[in-house]
């Protein structure tokens, strides 16, 4: 079929908003990278252009003046401990809910899933005092536990749907061969739902790496700051010190791991997030 002139024009016309939005998304991110290489004087002279020389002074400043290194370590620990704990807690429960008949299994599933819609902000006040009593306030492992539990509903929701696709015959065969249910869970179910486990783990890792508000409430001393708190702190200081370059370096350090994960797992992340949202 021959395309009409109108259709050709239509296609070009549609491209304009798409390209504009691409620029709107990419430009601030590129500019954040560029700004991290500029001196403060240069940021004032031409905030939105390319740097004259690419220097790493801002990164050095962030590392020495603001202890970004400690915050990176804290964020890494919280992210790794949080994701590991989430899996340890979520995999057995997801399996039991999905595959073992017991009274209340549907209720339990609904309880977990519906808690995704509840605003947790109300719970943060009592949680603050509970963590204080447990000596887990201002403690990155305490924060990791809170994070892990906060992502439990989402993780259980995604994992049950993955486990439901595993054929029951595999478990039955293993059970006939004398494998215990613990063996089935560990040697059959876990490897076969690996794809789902990887997806939720990446999503949880990004979530924990990025999280800001709970860290703001539950961490206090600067040596325990996660990266989100550290850059927020630099940002507030920058109002007075004008250390914009250092701030951009902090933003870049916080964003690069997410970009790397996205570059590798783009499809999984997009799929995991849309599925998580469709729960409705």
């Amino acid at each position: 079929m021959k395309k009409s002139v109108g259709q050709m024009l239509g296609k070009a016309g549609i491209r304009i908003p798409l390209i504009l939005w691409t620029l709107a998304v990419l430009y601030p991110i590129f500019w954040m990278f560029l700004g991290s290489f500029k001196s403060n004087a240069e940021i004032y002279r031409s905030p939105w252009g390319f740097p004259e020389v690419y220097n790493l002074q801002n990164y050095i400043d962030a590392w020495t003046n603001y202890n970004i290194g400690t915050s990176v370590m804290n964020s890494l620990i919280v992210t790794l401990a949080g994701t590991a704990l989430t899996l340890v807690l979520a995999i057995p429960t997801s399996y039991a809910i999905e595959r073992i008949n017991f009274r209340g299994s549907h209720f339990l599933f609904m309880l977990y899933v519906s808690s995704m819609m509840i605003p947790m902000v109300l719970g943060w006040i009592p949680l603050f005092f509970m963590l204080m009593e447990l000596n887990l306030l201002d403690n990155i492992f305490g924060l990791a536990i809170v994070y892990a539990v906060s992502q439990l509903p989402f993780t259980i929701f995604i994992l049950t749907s993955f486990i439901s696709t595993i054929p029951r015959s595999l478990e039955e065969a293993a059970a006939i061969d004398g494998m215990s249910p613990y063996g089935v869970l560990w040697k059959i179910i876990t490897p076969l739902s690996m794809s789902g486990i990887i997806t939720v783990t990446i999503m949880n890792a990004i979530q924990f790496w990025n999280e800001y508000f709970m860290a703001l409430i539950f961490l206090q001393s600067s040596q325990n700051y996660t990266l989100a708190l550290a850059i927020d702190y630099i940002s507030n200081e920058a109002q007075y010190t004008n250390a914009w370059g250092t701030l951009f370096a902090g933003l870049v350090i916080a964003t690069v791991p997410v970009i790397i994960l996205y570059a590798i797992f783009q499809r999984r992340i997009a799929q995991g997030m849309t599925e998580g949202a469709i729960k409705g």
Partner: protein
Amino acid sequence: MVQSKKQKYMFLTFCLVPTFVLFAIFTLYPLLSGLYYSFFDWSGASDNREFIGLDNYIRLMNDAIIPNTIMHDYFLVVTKVIGIMILALFFAVALTQLKLREAPLYRIVFFFPNIMSVVVIGILWTFIYNPNLGLVNSALDFLGFEHLARPWLGDEKWALPSLVFPSVWAGIGLFMLMLMGAISNIPKSYYEAVEIDGATKWQQFWRVTVPLIWPQIKISILYIVITTLNGSFVIVQVMTGGGPNNSTHVMGSYLYQQAFVQFNFGYGAAIGVMILVLSLITVIILQFLLRRDKVEY
């Protein structure tokens, strides 16, 4: 399966109990005791907690800032739903119907802000709105509209609307992908059938696309509403902290201010209960409003 009852219950206990105990301690119990604390006057130290009945709620009714925070939340809800849905729907239709060669590139780029940290987004946009260095004022200068330049986040009238753009910017990708998934599931024959009837592209959009992806549109709207009511305070906290002069406080950021800055924990809990109640009511009303019979051709 060859398994005794006892073994089965042992295994169930192993699977369910540790997880549920932690969930109960760190999610269910705090929510319930938040409700309980809302009846106390409490500045943090455990020995001076005083039961005051409904006084926190009476104070809530008389606090002149509260109605504003509610208004601000719903302002963000409405503007975000409109902004995100229009753009996401437009992009989703464009990328599925027009077989552009570079379509995957747009998908990848548009989705990325969805996984960026709210802190990074907030700080980036704070700088974009910076009165002297920011992109917005520079662009206005460049285009000859200097008189429109203003300290966006420092202006009581403009600060709140200025928060809408970062939220839309960060939110579109996810909903675009959800709608694209729905649109690509519509059989081609439906479009051919109405095309034979002489329907224009615009009519096809309203008569075929919208009714058939209605479930996903509804889910998207609900999701935006829930995440905004339950989480809009994060971007507010990062970008304005509720200022200038309380003009951007939403319910959540006001709760933070009352509880964790001014140590009125009981009053903060009452605000939390209000957030919970309002978001549940809103979701129920929306479910009802968005009900629409399933379309089948």
